[in-house]
C-alpha cells in the first residue's frame, strides 16, 4: 500500500518540475508572475521528497521500491533473442536521501534567485530552465536502469548548458556553456560505450537484472578484465559530470552562469551526479576499476586544491574547491569507503551550496564584482552572510561540530584503513595534504573578503546586507551544516541514523576474486552486517577502521588547524609578505595561477587538433576528393581554352574532368572533320585498308 503511494508521489515530484518548465516557458512572455508557479512546484517537490524519505527510512528501511513499464519491446528477434527495454523508477534509501537534497537545495536556490535575478530580461525563462534541471536531476536519482540514467544524464547536461549560457550575449558565457557540454560529452561517450558493453552482455539496462546476472558469474566476454573495463567506461561518465581530472576544465568556466545556478548545479547536485552514478553501480566495480577511480579521485582532489590557492575570483576558488571535494568523494569510493563518500556528498551539498549562495549574496551586494581583491571588510556590512559563510568554511575545512568534519573524517579514515590493509598509503597522504590546502585557501578567501580594510571604497559604500529571501536560504543551509542532524556524537558518525539506517550499503556482485580482499565479507561480518544492514566488508576492514579512527581524527584536525593558522599568518596578521613569497616561487605561483595550464594544453592539442583536422579535411574534400572524382583543377585550367564554351554546361569537377577528357577526345575527332570532301575520302580509304589488315589475320 504505502509502497505504491510512495511510488506515486515519486512519479509526481519527478514530473511536476517538467510541468513547471513547460508552463513557465510557454506562458513566460504573457504572465509576468508565472515564476511563482515554478517556485510553488518546487515547494511541493520538497514536501514530497521529505515525505518519501521519512516513510522510507522509518517504516520500510531495507525495502527497495521499484515500478517499471515496458518502453520498447522488439519481441524475440532472430539473432539477438528477446529484446525488451524497461524503464522505471526505484526508491531505495540512497535515492530517497538524494531526492531530499536535490529538492531542498533546488527550492532554496529558487527562493534565492527570486531576488538575485530580479530585473533580468529573461526572468521567467530562467526559472523554466531551473525546472527543467530539477526534473532531469530527479530522473537521475530515481532511475532504476542505466539507459534512463544516461537519458537524464544528457538532459542535465542540456539544462546546465542552457543555464551556464543563460547570459549568452556574453561570449564568455556562451563559450563556457559549449565547453561544458562538449567536455561532458567526452565522458558520456565513454559511459555510452560502457552501456553498450552491458547491454551486449546482459540484454537489459535494469540495474537489478544486471547485478543478478553478474552474481551468477556472467561477465562481459567472460573475463574479469572486461568487467573492469566496463566499470571504468561507466565511470568516464562520472569523470565528465563530476568534473574529475582530466575533464575538470569545464567547471571553473561554468562559473559564467548566474551564481545561484552555480550553487545548485555546479556545486550541490549535478556535479554530485557522478558520485551518485558510481554509488549506483558500485556493485560491479572490480578492484582494478576501484584503484583507477581512487587515483582519479586523488588527483582531482589534489590538483584543483593547489590551483585554488592563488585564484582571486571568489567563484573560481569555490569552483576549484568543489572539484577537490568531489575528488574526495570519488577517492573515497575508490578506496571502498562507500558510505562516507555518499555522506560527504550530502554534507558537501549543503555547505557548498551555502558557500556559493553566500558568495552570490556578496557579489550581489558588490554589484557583480567577483574579484576578492576588490573586497574586504564586508564583515560589518553583511553580518549574516559573513557568519554563515564562516560556518560553511569551517565545515569544508573539517572542523569538529560541523557536518563536514564527520564525513571528511570518514573519508580520511577510509583511505587510511585502505592504506593499512593494502600497504598503499598514497591516498591517505593526498587526503590529509588536501585537507591542509582546503583549510588554507578557504580561510584565505574568508579573510580577504570579509576581514581587514575595504579595498574598493565606493563599491564598499553601496554594499549592504541582502534581503531576507536571500539570507533565509543561507541560514537554513548553515543550520544543516551542523553535526547534530546526522549523529548525536560529534566525533563519530557511526551511530548516527544516516550511516546506520540511511545509507544501507549495496553488496558487491562481481566474483570475489575480482574484489578488494576486504570487500569479501567474512562469516562474522555477515552476522554483524544483519544489524547494520551492511553485508559488505570483511571484519579485518572493520577492525582497521576502528584502529585508524582516532589517529585520523587527530591528524586531520592538525592539518585543518595548520591550514587556518597559515591563512591568518599570511593574510590577517600579514606576518609573511605574500607577494614576496609569490615572487620568490614565481614558477610555482604562475603554474598554480594558470591552473596548471590545462586549458592551454587542451587548446593546443585536442581542440586545435580537431579543428585543424576538420579544416584540412574540409579542404581535402573540396579539392582532393572532388578532385579525384573531378580531375585536377590545374589540368582543367590548362585546357580551359579548349573547354571554353563547354565549361558553361558543366563548370568544373568530375563533370569537368570527364568533360575535359571527352572534350579532348571530341577535339581529336573533330580534327578529321576538315570540311574537305577529298580528305574525307582519304580517311575512308585508309580506314578500309586498316580494317583489311586487322581482319586479314583471321
Amino acid at each position: 500500500m504505502t509502497e505504491s503511494a510512495l511510488i506515486n508521489i515519486a512519479v509526481a515530484i519527478l514530473f511536476l518540475p517538467l510541468l513547471g518548465f513547460a508552463v513557465t516557458l510557454l506562458l513566460g512572455k504573457k504572465v509576468k508572475k508565472i515564476y511563482l508557479f515554478e517556485v510553488f512546484i518546487l515547494f511541493l517537490g520538497l514536501a514530497g521528497a521529505i515525505a518519501i524519505a521519512y516513510t522510507k527510512l522509518t517504516s520500510l528501511s531495507d525495502a527497495e521500491l521499484v515500478s517499471e513499464f515496458t518502453w520498447i519491446n522488439l519481441g524475440n528477434t532472430p539473432l539477438l533473442g528477446e529484446i525488451k527495454i524497461n524503464l522505471g523508477i526505484m526508491i531505495d534509501n540512497i535515492a530517497a536521501l538524494m531526492m531530499v537534497v536535490v529538492m531542498l537545495i533546488s527550492f532554496l536556490v529558487h527562493l534565492f534567485s527570486i531576488e538575485y535575478m530580479r530585473g533580468d530580461p529573461r526572468y521567467n525563462r530562467y526559472f523554466a530552465y531551473l525546472g527543467l534541471f530539477t526534473f532531469s536531476m530527479s530522473g537521475i536519482v530515481l532511475t532504476h536502469n542505466i539507459l534512463m540514467m544516461y537519458i537524464f544524464w544528457e538532459l542535465v547536461g542540456v539544462s546546465s548548458y542552457l543555464l551556464i549560457g543563460f547570459w549568452f550575449e556574453k561570449k564568455s558565457a556562451a563559450d563556457a556553456g559549449k565547453k561544458a557540454f562538449i567536455v561532458n560529452r567526452i565522458g558520456d561517450v565513454g559511459m555510452f560505450l560502457g552501456i553498450l558493453m552491458l547491454f551486449t552482455t546482459y540484454h537489459t539496462f535494469t540495474f537489478d537484472e544486471i547485478f543478478a546476472q553478474i552474481s551468477q558469474g556472467v561477465l562481459p566476454f567472460n573475463s574479469g578484465f572486461w568487467m573492469s573495463v566496463t566499470g571504468i567506461l561507466i565511470f568516464c561518465g562520472a569523470i565528465g559530470k563530476s568534473a574529475q581530472f582530466p575533464l575538470h576544465v569545464w567547471l571553473p568556466d561554468a562559473m559564467e552562469g548566474p551564481t545561484p545556478v552555480s550553487a545548485l548545479i555546479h556545486a550541490a547536485t549535478m556535479v554530485a551526479a557522478g558520485v551518485y552514478l558510481v554509488v549506483r553501480v558500485f556493485g560491479i566495480m572490480t578492484a582494478d576499476a576501484l584503484v583507477f577511480i581512487a587515483t582519479i579521485g586523488a588527483l582531482s582532489a589534489l590538483i584543483p586544491a593547489t590551483i585554488a590557492l592563488t585564484q582571486n575570483d571568489i567563484k573560481k576558488v569555490l569552483a576549484y574547491s568543489t572539484i577537490s571535494q568531489l575528488g574526495y568523494m570519488i577517492m573515497s569510493l575508490g578506496v571502498g569507503a562507500f558510505q562516507f563518500a555518499f555522506f560527504h556528498l550530502i554534507t558537501h551539498a549543503f555547505f557548498k551550496a551555502g558557500l556559493f549562495l553566500g558568495s552570490g549574496s556578496v557579489i550581489h551586494a558588490m554589484h557583480h564584482e567577483q574579484d576578492i581583491r576588490q573586497m574586504g571588510g564586508l564583515r560589518k556590512k553583511m553580518p549574516i552572510t559573513y557568519y554563515t559563510f564562516l560556518l560553511f568554511s569551517l565545515a569544508i575545512s573539517g572542523i569538529p561540530l560541523t557536518s563536514g568534519f564527520l564525513s571528511k573524517d570518514g573519508i580520511l579514515a577510509g583511505s587510511f584503513a585502505f592504506g593499512t590493509l593494502t600497504g598503499n598509503q598514497f591516498f591517505a597522504i593526498v587526503g590529509f595534504f588536501v585537507a591542509l590546502l582546503t583549510a588554507f585557501y578557504m580561510f584565505r578567501m574568508v579573510i580577504i573578503t570579509f576581514h581587514g580594510e575595504p579595498r574598493n571604497k565606493e563599491k564598499y559604500e553601496h554594499a549592504h546586507e541582502s534581503k531576507a529571501v536571500m539570507t533565509v536560504p543561507l541560514i537554513i543551509l548553515a543550520v544543516l551544516s551542523i553535526f547534530i542532524w546526522y549523529t548525536p556524537n560529534p566525533f563519530n558518525p557511526d551511530q548516527g541514523w544516516i550511516l546506520s539506517k540511511g545509507i544501507n550499503t549495496h553488496e558487491q556482485y562481481i566474483p570475489e576474486e575480482t574484489r578488494y580482499d576486504f570487500l569479501v565479507p567474512g562469516e562474522a561480518a555477515v552476522v554483524e552486517g544483519e544489524e547494520t544492514g551492511s553485508v559488505m566488508y570483511s571484519e579485518s576492514y572493520e577492525e582497521a577502521m576502528h584502529s585508524v579512527h582516532v589517529p585520523t581524527m587527530i591528524l586531520s584536525l592538525l592539518m585543518a588547524g595548520l591550514g587556518i593558522l597559515l591563512a591568518f599568518v599570511f593574510y590577517q596578521w600579514k606576518k609573511v609578505n605574500v607577494d614576496r613569497l609569490a615572487e620568490k616561487y614565481k614558477p610555482l605561483y604562475n603554474f598554480s595561477l594558470n591552473k596548471w595550464y590545462f586549458d592551454e594544453l587542451y587548446d593546443k592539442t585536442a581542440v586545435s587538433g580537431t579543428i585543424g583536422l576538420s579544416r584540412f579535411l574540409g579542404k581535402f574534400d573540396s579539392k582532393v576528393i572532388d578532385g579525384i572524382v573531378n580531375g585536377s583543377a590545374s589540368v582543367t585550367k590548362g585546357f580551359s581554352t579548349f573547354i571554353g564554351k563547354f565549361d558553361n554546361i558543366v563548370v568544373d569537377g568530375f563533370v569537368n574532368f570527364a568533360a575535359y577528357l571527352s572534350g579532348f577526345v571530341g577535339l581529336i575527332f573533330r580534327r578529321f572533320q576538315t570540311g574537305k570532301v577529298q580528305t574525307y575520302l582519304v580517311f575512308v580509304l585508309l580506314s578500309v585498308v586498316i580494317l583489311l589488315f586487322i581482319f586479314n589475320s583471321f
Partner: protein
C-alpha cells in the same frame, strides 16, 4: 519466265507501283496546274496513305518475286521489309508536313513539283532497297535513292550551304557507291552470282579465297556504311546534314538510314548466316569474322558520334552527330547477331523515328522564327515558347533514353539483347556513351530554361496543323514509354525475313 508469272509478281509490288504512280501524277499535275502548286503536298499525302494501306494489306505475305532463275529472285516481300517500309512511309508523311511548314522549302515554291517528285524518287528507292535480295537491284535502288537525295540536299539553289552540301554529298556518295559496285563485281567474279541466297549457299559449299571475300565484303559495307553513316564512312553526314534544308536533313537522318539498315541487315543475314540456333542466335559461316567488324564499327560509331556532338554549337550539326551515335547503338543490335538484336533495332527505329523527327521539327519551327540553329541563340527561349520548349525537352530526354519516354524502352530493349548475348562490356560502353550524350542534350535544355536572359525572347505562334504534328510526334513517345506492348509486338511480328 512467263507472263502470268510476271503479272502475279506485279501484284506483289503494288506499293512500289503506287509510289511510282503518285510520282507521275505529281509531275503531271505540276505541269497542268502551272503556277499553283498548292495541291502537290496533298497529292503526295494521298499517295502515301494509299501506299500505306497497300503495305499493311501485304503484311504476313512472304514470297520472292521476279525470279531470275528457279532458285533466285530480285525481290522478296516479307514482314521485315514491310516493317521498314512502314517506317519510311511514316517518315515521308511527316516530312511532307515539315516541308509545308518550312520556310526554306516555301522559298522554293516555284520548284515544288521537282521537290515532291524527288522525294517520291527517294521513297521508291528506299522501298526497293528494303526488299531487294539481288546485288543488281540493291545497287540500282541505292543509286535511285542517292541521286534524288543529292539534288534535294542542295535544293535551295541560291544558298551556298545547300549547294556545298549537295556537292560533297554527290562526290562522296559517288565514290562510295563506286567502291561498293567494285566490291559487288568481285563477289560476282568469285561466285558468279549476284543473288544473296545463291551467294550464301555457294559460300557454304565451296571455300573461296578469304582475302578477296573480305575485300569484296568491306567494299560493299562501305556502300551501306555510307547510307547509315557509320564511322568511318560517316564524314559526309555532319556537313550534309548541316547544309541541307532541314526537312531533308530530318528525312536523311531517319528514312534513308532505315533503308540502309534494312538492306545491311538483310545482306548480313542472308549472305553470311549459316543457321539459327534455338536461342535465336545466328551462326555465321566461318570465313570472315563479320561480327567483330560490326562490333568495331558500332563502338567507333557511337563513341565518335557522342564525343563529337559535345562540341557542336549548331543544333542541326549536333543532331547529325547524335544520329550517328544512334546508328552506333543500333549497330550494336546487329552485332548481337540474334533475332533478339534485330527486334531491338527495329523497335529502336520506330521510336527513333518519332524522337529524331520531333527534335528536327522543333528546331525547324524555331529556326523559322529566329532564323538560327545556333544553340547559344536558344538562351532563355524556354519561357516564351512553352509548348515547343517542353516537347523539345521530351524529344531530347527520349534521345538520352530516360524513362518514362519511349527512348528508354528502345535503349533497354537493346541492352536486354546485349546482356542476353552476354556482351556485358559492350553494354557498359554503350551506357557510358549514354552518360556522355547527356552533356550535349541537356545543354540545349539548359540554354532553354536555366539561362536567364534580359532581352525579351520572341514568342512563336503555332498553326493548328503544326500543333497537331507536334502532338502526333510527342504523344507516342510518352504512350509507348509507359505501355510499349503494341510496338514490341509489332516489331517482333515483323521479324520474319524471307528464307528463314
Amino acid at each position: 519466265m512467263n507472263t502470268e508469272q510476271l503479272l502475279s509478281d506485279i501484284g506483289f509490288i503494288k506499293p512500289e507501283i503506287a509510289i511510282a504512280i503518285t510520282l507521275v501524277v505529281i509531275v503531271v499535275v505540276d505541269l497542268i496546274m502551272g503556277k499553283n502548286k498548292k495541291a502537290l503536298p496533298y497529292i503526295s499525302i494521298a499517295g502515301l496513305v494509299i501506299t500505306g494501306l497497300l503495305v499493311i494489306q501485304q503484311f504476313g505475305t512472304s514470297v520472292s518475286v521476279f525470279k531470275t532463275s528457279p532458285s533466285t529472285s530480285l525481290l522478296v516481300i516479307d514482314n521485315f521489309g514491310l516493317y521498314f517500309k512502314i517506317i519510311i512511309l511514316l517518315a515521308s508523311l511527316f516530312i511532307i508536313f515539315f516541308s509545308m511548314a518550312s520556310n526554306e522549302i516555301k522559298s522554293t515554291y516555284a520548284r515544288h513539283g521537282e521537290y515532291y517528285t524527288l522525294i517520291f524518287g527517294m521513297i521508291l528507292g528506299m522501298f526497293l532497297l528494303s526488299s531487294a535480295v539481288d546485288f543488281i537491284l540493291i545497287y540500282l535502288s541505292i543509286e535511285l535513292l542517292s541521286l534524288s537525295s543529292y539534288v534535294l540536299a542542295g535544293f535551295v539553289k541560291n544558298s551556298l550551304r545547300n549547294s556545298e552540301a549537295s556537292l560533297k554529298y554527290v562526290i562522296y556518295g559517288g565514290v562510295s557507291s563506286g567502291v561498293m559496285l567494285f566490291g559487288i563485281s568481285l563477289i560476282y567474279g568469285l561466285t558468279g552470282s549476284t543473288n544473296l541466297y545463291e551467294i550464301n549457299s555457294l559460300i557454304q559449299l565451296q571455300n573461296f579465297p578469304v582475302v578477296t571475300l573480305l575485300i569484296a565484303g568491306l567494299f560493299v559495307i562501305v556502300g551501306f556504311g555510307f547510307k547509315i553513316s557509320a564511322v568511318p564512312f560517316h564524314f559526309w553526314t555532319p556537313d550534309v546534314y548541316e547544309g541541307a534544308p532541314l526537312p531533308i536533313t530530318a528525312y536523311l537522318s531517319v528514312a534513308s538510314k532505315a533503308a540502309g539498315f534494312a538492306v545491311l541487315i538483310r545482306f548480313i543475314k542472308i549472305t553470311f548466316v549459316d543457321s539459327i540456333d534455338e536461342h535465336g542466335f545466328w551462326q555465321l559461316i566461318s570465313v570472315v569474322d563479320w561480327r567483330s567488324i560490326i562490333i568495331l564499327l558500332s563502338i567507333l560509331t557511337m563513341t565518335l558520334g557522342n564525343f563529337s556532338a559535345l562540341w557542336q554549337d549548331n543544333l542541326k550539326r549536333m543532331l547529325a552527330y547524335s544520329s550517328i551515335a544512334h546508328a552506333g547503338y543500333m549497330l550494336l543490335g546487329l552485332a548481337v547477331l540474334s533475332n533478339e538484336g534485330i527486334t531491338a533495332i527495329m523497335l529502336y527505329f520506330l521510336i527513333y523515328l518519332f524522337m529524331n523527327l520531333g527534335a528536327f521539327f522543333v528546331v525547324m519551327l524555331i529556326a523559322n522564327k529566329i532564323g538560327s540553329e545556333d544553340i547559344d541563340d536558344y538562351k532563355g527561349l524556354g519561357r516564351s515558347i512553352p509548348y515547343l520548349g517542353v516537347s523539345l525537352g521530351i524529344f531530347l530526354v527520349s534521345l538520352i533514353g530516360l524513362p518514362p519516354t519511349a527512348g528508354f524502352i528502345a535503349k533497354i530493349y537493346l541492352f536486354i539483347a546485349l546482356v542476353d548475348a552476354k556482351m556485358i562490356t559492350l553494354a557498359v560502353i554503350a551506357l557510358l556513351n549514354t552518360v556522355v550524350s547527356l552533356y550535349y542534350y541537356v545543354r540545349v535544355l539548359r540554354n532553354l530554361y536555366l539561362v536567364q536572359t534580359e532581352e525579351k525572347r520572341p514568342a512563336i505562334k503555332m498553326s493548328l496543323l503544326n500543333s497537331i504534328i507536334l502532338f502526333l510526334l510527342v504523344a507516342p513517345l510518352i504512350i509507348f514509354g509507359i505501355y510499349f506492348t503494341p510496338i514490341v509486338n509489332f516489331a517482333k511480328s515483323s521479324l520474319s525475313i524471307f528464307g528463314f
